[in-house]
């Protein structure tokens, strides 16, 4: 604030002249001529990328930001074009969006809903962003999604895995490409049965907040459907750093599977502790003790190091998928090539979903022929596409959730290099992870109607 004082006199003078002499064109910002908030004027359009840049998820946020920058480059016709060449919709031609050059602003969510909303507000009110994307946790995603709904901006979710994002807290202006806890559970169940059999007793450690609960609920439901029993479910504080006092009760509980419903630093620590206590080498009920981490990410695998070996989980996407599982997942290699050439390492799944979301938004605007959020919503709803690395995908209109194949992965026993920490075990096809839009785990919310902000 103190820097403002330097020019205070000049500015007051300007203001006084304005107030006294000139009849300026004034209007309420919500009612622009175009009929929607932040209609792009001039020859450029601004997108807002709101990712965690401080706090425990900062590395994940940095990777998302790299993907966004790459997507903007490709939309503006720079670089090798990445997935634009494999994307089934061909309306994007490298001339920006609707002929307008794409520019972007960035912000720091700090993985706190308050800070994330402040940052998003500044993008909307100050920078005139027409779309906001990013995020690395569900609390932030839900908070920013509802802000965008109120402001009349499109929100393209980044990494958010809670059922609530497109369930209880779904919004007409918000869209999620990433998969969710229910899909993780549905994808894991058949593989768990095949790997570990039908007669298993599971012990759950669950992060004590909304995402953890939906994750745990989903996994418990799908494993019990296999015939597994659930020995116990213990909620662990988010702030916990040492999980020893939660791990030791597992030792003699009679359980033979430990499910860690943790993410990020929590997961790295709980898994490290579980391995320290010898759970990986343990025999219970004549079976090998197993650990399952339903939601995996490359960064977590890296943080957990050797502890991740042989541990099963699920992913939205992996950079090896086209090489391992074939042409169905076309687009993956194109993306890995252009990302890898620019940054020197393969992209994470967070980067992939952010890149895909940006392309999907640009494509929807182009097909709709308008930046108006309501036109974009209409273009995205029930949109079927292919070539973005996940195989054929549907953006369901009923809840704005993408439906696509889910990867079941496992920590590599002998990773060739630091990029091969996980290997793909299986791909669970779309049909097995699809659920009804009115499924009880997703009930209790309503999309409402799209809000253009006018």
């Amino acid at each position: 604030m103190s820097r403002m004082n330097l020019t205070r006199r000049g500015v007051i003078k300007t203001g006084a002249i304005a107030g006294a002499g000139l009849a300026m064109p004034t209007y309420l910002s919500a009612q622009t001529e175009s009929g929607f908030t932040n209609a792009p004027a001039g020859d450029s359009v601004t997108l807002g990328f709101n990712v965690p840049q401080s706090g425990p998820y900062a590395d994940e946020g940095a990777d998302e930001l790299r993907a966004f920058e790459l997507a903007v480059e490709h939309l503006n016709g720079e670089g090798d074009g990445g997935m634009l060449s494999t994307f089934s919709s061909k309306v994007l031609d490298g001339t920006g969006i609707l002929g307008k050059k794409v520019t972007f602003v960035t912000g720091d969510t700090q993985t706190k809903s308050d800070a994330a909303r402040a940052s998003a507000q500044s993008m909307i009110q100050k920078d005139g962003a027409i779309m906001i994307s990013g995020g690395s946790s569900s609390g932030v995603a839900v908070a920013v999604q509802s802000l965008c709904q109120e402001a009349g901006i499109i929100y393209m979710n980044g990494l958010t895995h809670s059922n609530d994002t497109t369930g209880k807290d779904k919004k007409a202006n918000g869209f999620r490409h990433f998969f969710n806890a229910y899909m993780s559970a549905a994808a894991l169940a058949p593989v768990l049965k095949q790997l570990y059999g039908e007669d298993r007793a599971a012990y759950h450690l669950t992060a004590d907040y909304t995402w953890g609960w939906t994750q745990q609920e989903s996994i418990q439901a799908s494993t019990e459907a296999l015939g597994w029993t659930t020995v116990n479910n213990v909620l662990t504080p988010l702030a916990a750093t040492d999980f020893s006092s939660y791990i030791t009760p597992v030792l003699n509980s009679g359980a033979d599977v430990l499910v860690l419903n943790h993410y990020g630093g929590n997961m790295v620590n709980s898994l490290t502790n579980a391995v320290q206590f010898g759970l990986r080498d343990k025999q219970v009920n004549g079976k090998n003790f197993e650990i399952v981490v339903p939601l995996y990410s490359e960064l977590m695998a890296k943080g957990a190091g050797a502890n991740i070996k042989g541990i099963v989980g699920s992913q939205n996407w992996d950079w090896k998928v086209e090489n391992v599982m074939g042409d169905k997942y076309v687009g993956s290699n194109a993306f890995v090539q252009s990302f890898g050439n620019k940054y020197g390492f393969p992209p994470s799944q967070a980067a992939h979903t952010c890149y895909a979301q940006t392309l999907l938004y640009a494509d929807a605007v182009t097909r709709a022929g308008s930046f108006n959020p309501c036109a974009v919503v209409e273009a995205l709803e029930d949109f079927e596409f292919d070539g973005l690395g996940n195989g054929p995908t549907l953006y369901r209109g009923a809840d704005h959730q993408c439906f696509k194949d889910v990867l079941v992965v496992k920590g590599a026993e002998n990773p060739e290099n630091e990029f091969n920490l996980v290997e793909i075990v299986e791909v669970t096809p779309t049909e097995q992870v699809t659920y009804d839009a009115e499924h009880p785990m997703f009930a209790g919310g309503a999309l409402g109607s799209c809000n253009p902000g006018a």
Binding site: M1, L22, A30, T106
Partner: protein, 400 residues
């Protein structure tokens, strides 16, 4: 005027003019210039400036006057926010009842916590308040989710049973907080060449309340009650020996400052109807402590400056990325441009915390009296007469 002496009236008037003209003052750079990045004159940030200003003013009534360092004030901010959102959900979208309820609930909460914590002094008091706030945070994040909606934060939905008013607005969305029909989001935009000035109804609502809060704080500072509190700070033992029980005074100060925090929390929710548990975390409590010390503890205007300073860094510096840096230095030769970007890169964007930390250290090392002292130094520099010290210290009025 208003029962204040001349010095305080001048200060109040200056603050009045500054807050009323903030949309101009905070937008000094034309929108098309590279410096526009430093503009802070958009509704959301201006609202945060004044709201956190209220929070810090209130905190200063306790800390600046009595010397009791509460490390749990964010709990009252959070409680205020939750009360306001519940009021929106259940009663009406009018901001007045919501804000009033948040002040009352925060006051009651402060009464209970203050009553217990004030049995101890010094660091023991600080840790007690910290413990209560951390308990509130941990419970709100997990066990109390039915009331607080946990991680996501309490927000409005399309099926809120609002007694006075509609659940769904005419356009099919969630109605927005308003003051008897005046939408808090309504913004009057004035375009003046490349400048765009935004006058938000919500901002002015908060600004008026901030002025009231500020006025009240001046009155408290100047009252016999304020004097009593300063006596507690300078020597509590002597006060006790004179047979005076100081606990009622400190408790009153604690509750008042808790109500200020509740007001700030209620306003945060009124500007943006969401209440997250992070508002109660120790980092949030620590932030208001830092704001107050940074600005100048015990001074009237200091905490407001400190609040503005921290919020400015958080919201402006975190948004400067490499693309912006390249734009700034585009006029330079390539080599120098890259060099400058490389040098500045660690301090902006994701490195904004680093700059903030360095600023904390710089301020406390070079300006022992906080930002207020810096302002005085600059003022003296312009006047070039050392005798002016006591006349310019309208803002200082140290509590010691």
């Amino acid at each position: 005027m208003f029962g204040l002496d001349k010095k305080d009236t001048t200060l109040l008037l200056i603050v009045f003019v500054l807050t009323m003209c903030a949309p101009f003052l905070l937008n000094p750079f034309p929108g098309n210039s590279a410096m526009a990045q430093f503009n802070a004159g958009y509704p959301d940030l201006m609202q945060r400036f004044v709201i956190y200003g209220i929070f810090a003013i209130g905190f200063n009534i306790l800390f600046g006057l009595t010397g009791y360092l509460s490390f749990g004030h964010a709990a009252f901010l959070g409680v205020g926010s939750y009360s306001a959102v519940w009021m929106f959900k259940l009663l009406s979208m009018n901001v007045l009842p919501a804000v009033i309820l948040s002040v009352i609930i925060a006051g009651l909460f402060a009464l209970v916590i203050g009553f217990i914590s004030l049995r101890r002094s010094g660091i023991y008091f600080s840790i007690l308040t910290l413990a209560f706030a951390q308990m509130s945070f941990a419970l709100a994040y997990s066990v109390l989710t039915p009331i607080t909606n946990g991680e996501t934060g309490l927000q409005l939905s399309l099926n809120d049973p609002r007694i006075l008013g509609e659940s769904v607005s005419a356009s099919g969305g969630i109605p927005f907080p308003s003051l008897f029909g005046l939408d808090m989001r309504a913004t009057h935009v004035m375009e003046l060449g490349p400048w765009m000035f935004q006058f938000s109804a919500g901002y002015y609502f908060c600004a008026v309340l901030m002025l009231l809060a500020f006025y009240l704080a001046i009155r408290i500072f100047r009252s016999p009650f304020g004097l009593m509190l300063r006596a507690v700070k300078s020597n509590q033992q002597r006060m006790n020996y004179t047979g005076l029980n100081v606990r009622p005074y400190t408790l009153a100060a604690f509750v008042i400052s808790g109500m200020y925090a509740g007001l700030a929390g209620g306003l945060l929710a009124a500007m943006d109807p969401l209440a997250g548990a992070e508002r109660m975390q120790w980092t949030a409590s620590g932030e208001v402590v830092l704001m107050t010390i940074l600005g100048g503890a015990g001074t009237l205007i200091g905490p407001v400056l400190g609040a503005g300073f921290i919020k400015y860094f958080e919201n402006i510096f975190s948004k400067i990325n490499d693309t912006v840096l390249h734009q700034w230095f585009a006029f330079m030769p390539d080599g120098i441009e890259d060099l400058l970007v490389t040098v500045i890169h660690p301090f902006v964007g994701k490195g904004w915390h680093l700059t903030l930390g360095l600023m904390f250290m710089a301020v406390v090392i070079f300006l022992p009296g906080g930002l207020v002292q810096g302002g005085q130094k600059i003022g003296n520099l312009f006047r070039r007469k050392p005798a002016a010290d006591h006349t310019t210290s309208a803002a200082k009025t140290p509590a010691e």
